[in-house]
Symmetry: C2
Subunit: 413 residues, 2 copies
Amino acid sequence: MRKDLDHLMHTHNVDALWIMGPTTHNPAMRYFCGEASLTGADLFKRRNQPPTLFYRSMERDEAAKTGLITRCYDDYPFRTYYEQANGDISQATALRFRKMLEDLHLERSRIALYGKIEFGPQFDLVKQLQTLMPEAEFLGFADDPILLMAMMTKDEDEIERIRQMGRVTTQVVAQTADFLSQHRAKGGILIKSDGEPLTIGEVKRRINLWLAEQGAENSEGTIFAIGRDAAIPHSTGNPHDVLRLGETIVFDIFPHEAGGGYFYDFTRTWCLGFATDEALGLYEQVLSVYRQVVQELAPNRFFKFYHDRTCELFEAMGHPTVRTNPTTQEGYVHSLGHGLGLHVHEYPVSGAYANESRDLLAPGTVFTIEPGLYYPQKGIGVRLEDTYAVLPDGQITCLAEYPPDLVIPVRAS
Amino acid sequence: MRKDLDHLMHTHNVDALWIMGPTTHNPAMRYFCGEASLTGADLFKRRNQPPTLFYRSMERDEAAKTGLITRCYDDYPFRTYYEQANGDISQATALRFRKMLEDLHLERSRIALYGKIEFGPQFDLVKQLQTLMPEAEFLGFADDPILLMAMMTKDEDEIERIRQMGRVTTQVVAQTADFLSQHRAKGGILIKSDGEPLTIGEVKRRINLWLAEQGAENSEGTIFAIGRDAAIPHSTGNPHDVLRLGETIVFDIFPHEAGGGYFYDFTRTWCLGFATDEALGLYEQVLSVYRQVVQELAPNRFFKFYHDRTCELFEAMGHPTVRTNPTTQEGYVHSLGHGLGLHVHEYPVSGAYANESRDLLAPGTVFTIEPGLYYPQKGIGVRLEDTYAVLPDGQITCLAEYPPDLVIPVRAS
């Protein structure tokens, strides 16, 4: 949780976090700045001190909305450093930041870097600063033990926001099911009132509209994939595809609060009109594994335990899994789930590279459970996914209930 | 243009561009990958060679949609490097990338880094690689002379896409004006049919809906700000504000193609019902400067020439400008405009730090013209903005016409 930050910084011997970039669609910045909208900023969180936010003059009112200690970049007039650097913009920028860092007493500090931002200009700045400030140490984490670790456990307000996105998500899923059901089938495909085939592109456009109506965004896209596409977990679906009856549709929707806030993550597998015996068989296996694993969930256990358990259950049914073959493209081809919050993928991790001391289902964690089976050559993919939270008392709860049904009825022609 | 890339790489002695991150909401990646949707990838563009895209197995069909030469990360099994690194994920990742770079013959190359991505993990990777590959040089640009330079001039297809976003934008602006006009005024504010005041939050929600209907996104937000907020250029507007008659509203809308494609950028200033003499006076000054500058635009001229000209015209009217005081918060407080494309801000630059050899209105450039006047203490802000392109024959054209009118009529109560 947020309150763990200073302790985590201490444990990993980090003096300051430097978070860069806009406040929108930038999880680390959003964590500190909330819903204020700044197009470019720098935030410094020193150990045992409140954060300081640097802002552009034109964005002073947005900066004030954060409630943080703020400073205007204009206090460090760019013109001065530009002249000092003889018109070299890279050097001028570094000289300006050196002064800002010096004023924060960070010239001999270990500074961890964060922010979703264009890599090139920032890399140049850090390289130049390292030369100008040889006693400072700038570092990034492949496997962040500080900020992502704090983010991993959510407080009640954060869980409530994710639950609210769950309500939005399941409402849009219900609207999508109703929309499909209202169409007639003809020649094995869904058709519109004008007799033309309905396409995946049109379905996705409706989904975006319904999300926008509720103030949500799906900036990372939505998977609505049919047939062979459904059998490849990250194929997003071809907008020109028509909706063929009886084929599996994987509908994986992961919207977030407008501006880049908390996510929800949810998947259903649907067949329009009817399911083949083969699809129904795989669906029933996935559903039974889903139910078995959910029933066994207990707080504070290693998340990977349940991933391994899922592999074991699927292997007992005769399917290849990522445990028997890490690069398999058939059977169970991904990990059981992932944490989520301001990122769609956060800690805890459940797959092969999970960390035993970190990736526990601790109170405050929010994570997905998403077993699936994929057979591209048969054109069948099945995945079921819901988002769960471990509450402060250790109770584990699904954040938005929705029926797992496979077949969506459609109107006969 | 795209075809200039090899030449620009040669001029700046760069052997390869390494573009990192997802293909959505990541302009550099989108430039090469088009509309394919990959959540994580690495693209290497070597000089005088076609690009190579690395993809995850689950995203193989999306990777294939790019039409590029592709390679699966699984050809470099992570498990091997993980064992070699004794379970250190940071080190394992670097060992894997070293092998990928070696197979591309980049171990002694100058490699420029690009991509909108979480900074920390990538910074760690590049730092580790630099140690493993001491003869390679990794660099970023504060002021990119290669990829952003190529992107600065658009081909006809790119200009047509921006023009199409202009059509979407102006249609949504017209819908917004109609929506406001349909409301009644009562007690100096707009009210809904239920007698409650209309709020900026509700207007913005409609705007998002109309954009979604046309398959556009405004992931960087929309400015719809009234009164004092309108007088601070980047204040986005308070969702709880009511719509007071006679006050200036700055409506700045910059949507893009879904998934993070080409932008449009557009601003109008509106007063509901009537304008005060003071607001009308400032509006007429901004409109006359806008018209004067647009009339003088000529191809291949230095963009900053028109910024200086705008300052000159506003100064002659008695306003402070960023030329007389770079940190002024009153009068004309920003630069005349900016290039746009896959980023909302690109080259050419028009302000104080423009580059005489680069920031020209060359054929293929697309840029905004957006003079404005701001008086926060009076609660008045005025800005007018359209997007222009220089066509191959040197003709300069507005990409979406829309009336500049100030007053939006509303229904009497």
